[in-house]
């Protein structure tokens, strides 16, 4: 069973991304939304952790939330895919279940 994990908090503020990555299994995905997008940025102390997790888990970032915080796709760790809300909907269907890490 594949799971789409949504993370909506900055890793600089809360540890729900870390908790999520402890449970995310091979073939599942993480979607960064709201303040969660800060984990997608290059050159932060979380980049290595995200890059390591990306060997097993697909990473997506909600582009409207990224843009709302003043960032562009160019600032994002290579390999993280951008989605809009329609793409978010599609991901919830692609994966069997959706787990929000609040």
């Amino acid at each position: 069973m594949s799971i789409l994990h949504t993370v909506n908090k900055s890793p600089f503020e809360k540890n729900n991304l870390e908790s999520c990555l402890r449970y995310a299994k091979l073939g599942s995905a993480v979607l960064l939304i709201e303040d969660g997008i800060y984990a997608a940025l290059k050159d932060t102390r979380f980049e290595k952790e995200v890059a390591t997790a990306m060997k097993d888990v697909s990473f997506y970032c909600l582009e409207p939330d990224l843009k709302a915080r003043g960032f562009s796709a160019a600032k994002i760790i290579d390999g993280i895919k951008m989605v809009d809300y329609a793409g978010f909907v599609d991901l919830t269907i692609k994966y069997d279940k959706v787990q929000a890490w609040l």
Binding site: N8, I33, E34, D35, P64, D65, D84, Y85, A86, F88, V89, D90, T92, I93, K97, V98, A100, L102
Partner: protein, 130 residues
């Protein structure tokens, strides 16, 4: 696909009410069905018709009401969470002996059973919260 959306946080706090609304709209545009939006915890504050945000700001409760009317979505407010926070419809007002009610059009007050039933009869539950 059939969706149930759960909203755990009030409007104008962080982004939950907006994310949930945007997701719900996108799902409908994609041709999916949203059976129910279940408002739990502080999320029940999405359902007060007395909220009066500035004219140039979004009106969260009105926005939900309009979406529900247009797409026949069941907007359910958790009764226990609502009572704690002063969200009442007319019958709850009478039952509790209060002098006013404030539930926005298109919303109804019910219990957690409605969340469980929604999950049983839908394909995906998507939760938004703080």
């Amino acid at each position: 696909m059939k969706f149930v959306i759960q909203v755990n946080e009030g409007p104008y706090q962080h982004q939950t009410a907006d994310s949930a609304y945007q997701f719900t709209r996108a799902a409908l545009v994609r041709g999916h069905e949203v059976l129910r939006v279940f408002f739990y915890h502080d999320g029940v504050n999405n359902g007060t018709r007395l909220a009066s945000p500035p004219q140039d700001d979004r009106n969260v409760a009105k926005r939900w009401s309009a979406l529900a009317t247009e797409h026949d979505i069941d907007l359910v407010v958790c009764v226990a969470a609502a009572q704690r926070r002063g969200i009442l419809d007319e019958s709850e007002m009478k039952r509790l002996g209060k002098d006013a009610h404030n539930l926005a059009p298109g919303f109804r007050i019910s219990g957690l059973g409605q969340l469980i039933e929604g999950v049983v009869f839908s394909d995906r539950l998507v939760v938004f919260g703080d």
